[in-house]
């Protein structure tokens, strides 16, 4: 058992991070979970939320917003297949609010269930992002 956890964050466009950390908090679909070194093998989908990376115990975590994806913990470490990541410092709150209202309107005007489902998915991550930024 090692003291640090090897982790990789991969987006479809590139390998975002490939490093070691003491602990990583992942927003799993069934609730947040913390991945520590030697965690049992696990595969979980991720809901829109913040991944917190603690490089040292007790240190300030670096935060990264993930739109959704899949986390896989294997004996080799943690792999996060992120759909898209957003830098929290670059979020424009007003723009985001406008987008949320727009999407809500679009959902009401949606022609069929398939379109509505797609829009609701979009709305879910925007709302989650707004909550994180507001907090």
């Amino acid at each position: 058992m090692t003291d640090t956890l090897h982790y990789e964050i991969v987006s479809p466009e590139r390998l975002l991070k490939d490093a070691e950390a003491a602990m990583i908090v992942v927003p799993g679909a069934d609730g947040d979970f913390a991945a520590l070194p030697g965690h049992a093998p696990l595969m979980s989908t991720i809901r829109p939320g913040v991944v917190e990376i603690f490089e040292d115990e007790g240190a300030q975590p670096s935060r990264l917003f993930v739109k959704g994806g899949l986390a896989q913990i294997s004996p080799k470490g943690l792999t996060i297949l992120a759909e898209e990541t957003i830098d929290l410092s670059a979020v424009n709150t007003d723009e985001l609010k406008q987008k949320i209202t727009d999407t809500r309107e679009d959902i009401e005007d949606a022609k069929d269930d398939i379109e509505r489902a797609a829009l609701e998915k979009e709305l879910a991550w925007m709302v989650a992002l707004a909550e994180v930024v507001a907090a």
Partner: protein, 297 residues
């Protein structure tokens, strides 16, 4: 026999063509490097996705209620053929080769009595297919406004394709694109997108080391993870195809323009020889005239 002036004009026009092809070759070379980097950067995600799918898919595929994206709709009457080509020409046989492969595939499907629907990505393929299969084309994605291909672009295309699939508009989807091997070699590839093909057994062994070595806990459960993963896999595969295509296009253009530059060089050499010979002939003729005139006196 062209006059001296004609030859001179001709030489200078070929020279300016050569300058253009040379510049295009250099531009293609630098674009190729960027496209190649993008394709390589996207590889880790696709590979890990494949690993996860290989492990999960094999377990779930035969169970009843498996996602139609994996198990298929049980029919293969209607096939959607997605043809990815470039937006611009002057890249040798790049577009023609992709379209040729797609056309052969479409023909065999039509012969087997199946319905074919075509979705074109890129302007060139649309132009080539419109004449023969105009009635079968259901859509055309214009990528000319996109400067740098992002995952979001592929995601949009995938969303459209998946919406069509959910409405039951087709049973099988195949993607045609050119896989990049080197600047000289691009392999036209046919890839099935829906239902998702599981990686080959040989591949599974590699993935298996990582996956089957440990007993996984699934959250929420295998089925739900797959339902989430499979639509994303379609987008990832399309994205990968488009990236490979972009790199191939630049590679093909580089090769084509290199050939054109060399041909122009040969042509200039030939024309210069003819020009010099004609000039010499004119001088000799004048001399003969003067000498014979002097002798006659």
């Amino acid at each position: 026999m062209p006059s001296l002036k004609d030859l001179k004009v001709r030489i200078s026009s070929v020279k300016s063509t050569q300058k253009i092809t040379k510049a295009m070759k250099m531009v293609a070379a630098s674009k190729l490097r960027r496209a190649q980097e993008a394709a390589e950067a996207a590889r880790p995600y696709a590979e890990r996705m494949e690993n996860v799918l290989a492990g999960l898919g094999a377990a779930v595929k035969d169970q009843p209620g498996a996602s139609p994206l994996l198990a298929g709709t049980g029919k293969d009457d209607v096939e959607l053929v997605i043809v990815a080509t470039s937006e611009r020409g002057l890249c040798g046989g790049f577009n023609t080769n992709i379209v040729k492969a797609a056309r052969a595939h479409i023909q065999s499907l039509v012969k087997a009595g199946k319905t074919v629907k075509i979705l074109c990505i890129g302007r060139k393929g649309y132009g080539l297919l419109r004449r023969t299969y105009g009635d079968k084309i259901i859509g055309h994605k214009d990528m000319s406004a996109i400067k740098r291909l992002g995952f979001a672009d592929a995601h949009d295309i995938a969303a459209d394709v998946l919406a069509m699939f959910e409405r039951g508009e087709f049973d099988v989807a195949t993607l045609f694109y050119a896989k990049f091997q080197s600047a000289l070699v691009q392999i036209t590839t046919k890839q099935q997108l829906i239902p998702a093909p599981l990686p080959e057994v040989a591949n599974e062994n590699e993935a298996g080391d990582e996956l089957q070595g440990a007993i996984y806990e699934y959250e929420p459960d295998e089925g739900a993870i797959l339902d989430d993963l499979l639509p994303r896999n379609v987008a990832v595969q399309i994205y990968r195809g488009l990236l490979e295509n972009a790199a191939s296009e630049q590679g093909a253009r580089m090769t084509a323009m290199d050939n054109a530059t060399r041909n122009a060089g040969d042509m200039i050499a030939n024309l210069t020889i003819t020009y010099n010979r004609t000039r010499q002939a004119a001088i000799t003729k004048e001399l003969i005239e003067i000498i014979s005139g002097a002798e006659a006196l």
